[in-house]
């Protein structure tokens, strides 16, 4: 059977906030084979950070657990899934509303899902109470021809992407 994707990676790490930077940089490095712009990479890094943070602080409530990331490339589109086996979300529709947070006391703003939706092309959330949550996000990476008018030279862009990845 023919596979539906061109490339795939899977990542698993402990539910600890110190892994957030690692997770977003690893995914950005995987996506960089599509030759994304710096903006596209930053969008993806921000969305990953939101979903991973949610798994750690809401899913596992800062206790023990494993966060999984699966990323697949289909032509010029990347699909990224962030998966936890934490406590799950009772009402996904409500959770995704801007400014909704179940933890207002911790200086949370309730903007995580709104940021994911605004920086990615598509965000879907599957969740079951007591079983966990899966966030599925997609983003199409602009084909290079569309960027010809961009005044960044290829070299400069590669350099910038390297810096973004390194940061």
């Amino acid at each position: 059977m023919k596979r539906l994707y061109d490339n795939e990676m899977k990542l698993e790490f402990s539910s600890k906030t110190c892994n957030e930077a690692f997770a977003r940089i690893a995914v950005a490095a995987f996506v960089s084979q599509l030759d994304p712009t710096i903006d596209e990479l930053s969008d993806i890094k921000t969305a990953i950070s939101e979903a991973v943070t949610n798994s750690i602080i809401h899913g596992y409530e800062e206790g023990e657990g494993t966060v999984k990331i699966e990323a697949r490339i289909y032509l010029d589109t990347v699909q990224i899934e962030i998966i936890d086996n934490g406590k799950g979300i009772e009402n996904v529709e409500m959770a995704m509303k801007p400014l909704y947070t179940s933890k207002p006391d911790l200086e949370r703003s309730g903007m995580g899902f709104t940021i994911m939706e605004s920086f990615m092309d598509e965000v879907k959330v599957e969740s079951a109470l007591g079983f966990g949550t899966r966030v599925i996000m997609k983003k199409k990476i602009t084909p290079k021809e569309d960027l010809k008018e961009d005044n960044l030279s290829d070299e400069k862009q590669k350099e910038d992407i390297k810096n973004t990845l390194g940061a």
Partner: protein, 116 residues
């Protein structure tokens, strides 16, 4: 984080150099509060020039510091907020509450264009 204090005008500028996420937020928050309380200045400015990454953890962090500065009777302002961060502050309503001054950033971009 780098802090600069203008004694004459009692303005404290805090240049945040860390990536802001859930992991780093607590530590940055503590450092910022500490500086704000020590100087108790007339005005506190957060300079975002050097921020390469910020997620939603930054929203609560900024709003919390704004409340602290207000409570101490000072003014609060954000400067050099890039497009992505501005979008996050606009979406969350932060821009409606806190003054964002991007004159320095705009001037820099114009200079860059001339150079190209």
């Amino acid at each position: 984080m780098i802090s600069k204090y203008d004694k004459e005008n009692k303005i404290l500028t805090l240049i945040i150099t860390e990536e802001i996420d859930q992991h780093t937020a607590d530590n940055i928050r503590r450092k910022l509060d500490n500086e704000i309380e020590i100087y108790n200045s007339k005005k506190v400015i957060f300079d975002f020039t050097n921020i390469t990454f910020m997620d939603s953890s930054g929203i609560g962090m900024v709003l919390g510091r704004y409340k602290l500065v207000k409570m101490l009777g000072g003014e609060f302002e954000l400067i050099n907020v890039n497009r992505r961060l501005k979008k996050i502050f606009d979406m969350s309503g932060v821009s409606r509450i806190i003054k964002i001054n991007n004159e320095g950033l705009i001037a820099k971009e114009e200079n860059n264009e001339e150079a190209i």
